[in-house]
C-alpha cells in the first residue's frame, strides 16, 4: 500500500489529538513530592560525606570556590605571619614565658651548672652534689626518659636507704 502524502498529512494532524490528553487537573502539583517521599521512605537517599558534597557544590558555584580559596589563603597568610612574629620574640628573649619542659637543654643554658647527682654517679664523677655544691639544672633530668638509667638510679637510691 502506498499512502498519499495528503493522507499522511491528515494522519499527522490526527496524531496531534494525542497532545490534548492531559492528566487530571493538578496531577503534577505534587508529583515530585511523591517521588522524593518514596526515595526517602525506601532509604535511597544519597548520603555523602561533607567533602564529597563540597566539591560538586564548588564546581557548581565558581564564586563560592573563589571565596573558599581566598579564606584559605588568608588563613595561611595569618599563620605564617604569627609564626614569624613568634620567632622574632623568641630570638629577642629566649626561654621567657616558656615552661621548663619546652626550654633548651641544660648544656645550652647560660647559668653555671653543676652536674646533677644521678648524672655524676653514672658518669663516674667523684664530686656528688652537696649543700655546698647544689644541683642546678634548667632542664629535665636526662634519665627521666631513659628506662635503663632510671632503673639503675632506683637501685642506687634503694641501696643508699639500706
Amino acid at each position: 500500500m502506498n499512502p498519499s502524502p495528503e493522507e499522511f498529512d491528515r494522519l499527522r494532524k490526527l496524531l496531534t489529538l494525542k497532545r490534548h490528553e492531559p492528566p487530571p487537573p493538578g496531577y503534577f502539583n505534587h508529583f515530585s513530592d511523591k517521588i522524593l517521599a518514596r526515595i526517602e521512605a525506601e532509604g535511597l537517599f544519597i548520603r555523602n560525606s561533607w567533602w564529597q558534597r563540597l566539591f560538586p557544590e564548588l564546581d557548581a558555584k565558581p564564586v563560592l570556590a573563589c571565596a573558599y580559596g581566598l579564606v584559605i589563603m588568608g588563613l595561611l597568610a595569618i599563620g605564617v605571619g604569627v609564626s614569624q612574629s613568634l620567632e622574632t620574640e623568641e630570638t629577642a628573649a629566649p626561654n621567657l614565658g616558656r615552661p621548663w619542659f619546652a626550654q633548651a637543654p641544660a648544656s645550652d643554658a647560660v647559668l653555671p651548672v653543676s652536674v646533677p647527682v644521678a648524672q655524676a654517679s653514672l658518669t663516674g664523677q667523684t664530686n656528688p652534689a652537696s649543700s655546698v655544691n647544689p644541683v642546678i639544672s634548667s632542664g629535665a633530668p636526662s634519665f627521666l626518659f631513659d628506662v635503663n638509667r632510671l632503673k639503675v638510679e632506683v637501685e642506687r637510691v634503694k641501696h643508699d636507704l639500706h
Partner: protein, 209 residues
C-alpha cells in the same frame, strides 16, 4: 475551568531539552552530591514529557502514573553511575522507555484503556476541527470517539512502532534524538516511523479520507 485544562498542548521538547542541557549538568552534579532540591528541579523539568510518553504508550493513566514515578526513582538510584555521556534528558527518557516496554511485554494480553479527558483546546484546534468536519465519511464522529479510535489503533502497533510514533509525531522529537533514546541509527528510526504510519493509516482509513 481549571487553568491546567486551559494550558496549551505540550510543545515539542527537543529544542528546550538542548538548551537546558548545561543547566541540567549542574543540577545532576548537585543531586549526585545528595542535594534533593536539585533532583526535585530535574523531576519538574521532565515530569510532563516523561508522563506523556508513557501514557501514549500504555493508554492508561494509572499505569502511566506508576511507571513515571518508578522511572524517576530508578533514575535517582542510578544517578551516581550517570557520567554525562548523553544528556540527562536522553538518559531519563531511555529509562522510561525501557521500563514501559518491559511493562507492556508483561501486560501483553491485559490491555485496558483509561484515557484522560481531552483538554479545552482540542475543540478549537483547526486541524482537529477539520478532521471531524463534513468532509469525513464518518460524519457522526466526535473528538472523543476519534480519540478512542486513535488510541485503539495505536495499541495495535508493536511497542517499538508505537514508541517511534509517540516520540516523533506526538512528542515532536527529532529523528536523531529518538535514535539516541532507542539506541539505533536514524535510518532505522525513519523506516520504523514509515511502517508505523502505514499501519495506522490502514487502521484509521475511515477517518483520513
Amino acid at each position: 475551568m481549571n487553568a491546567n485544562v486551559l494550558d496549551k498542548a505540550p510543545t515539542p521538547p527537543t529544542s528546550k531539552a538542548a538548551t537546558d542541557a548545561p543547566e541540567d549538568q549542574h543540577l545532576v552534579k548537585r543531586a549526585q552530591g545528595g542535594d534533593l532540591e536539585a533532583y526535585d528541579e530535574l523531576i519538574r523539568r521532565y515530569q510532563e514529557r516523561i508522563y506523556a510518553t508513557i501514557y501514549h504508550m500504555t493508554a492508561n493513566h494509572e499505569d502511566a502514573n506508576d511507571l513515571a514515578q518508578e522511572t524517576f526513582i530508578k533514575a535517582y538510584q542510578a544517578l551516581k553511575s550517570f557520567k554525562g555521556d548523553s544528556s540527562f534528558f536522553t538518559w531519563v527518557y531511555r529509562i522510561a522507555v525501557n521500563k514501559t516496554i518491559n511493562f507492556l511485554k508483561q501486560r501483553k494480553n491485559k490491555t485496558h484503556m483509561s484515557l484522560n479527558d481531552l483538554d479545552f483546546n482540542a475543540e478549537h484546534d483547526p486541524d482537529l476541527v477539520a478532521l471531524v468536519s463534513d468532509k469525513t465519511p464518518r460524519r457522526d464522529v466526535n473528538l472523543i470517539e476519534l480519540q478512542e479510535k486513535l488510541n485503539g489503533a495505536m495499541q495495535k502497533l508493536s511497542e517499538i512502532h508505537r514508541l517511534v510514533v509517540t516520540l516523533h509525531d506526538v512528542q515532536g522529537l527529532s529523528h536523531e534524538a529518538i535514535s539516541k533514546i532507542m539506541g539505533c541509527n536514524t535510518g532505522t528510526v525513519r523506516s520504523r516511523l514509515f511502517y508505523a504510519r502505514q499501519q495506522l493509516q490502514a487502521y484509521l482509513s475511515d477517518y483520513l479520507k
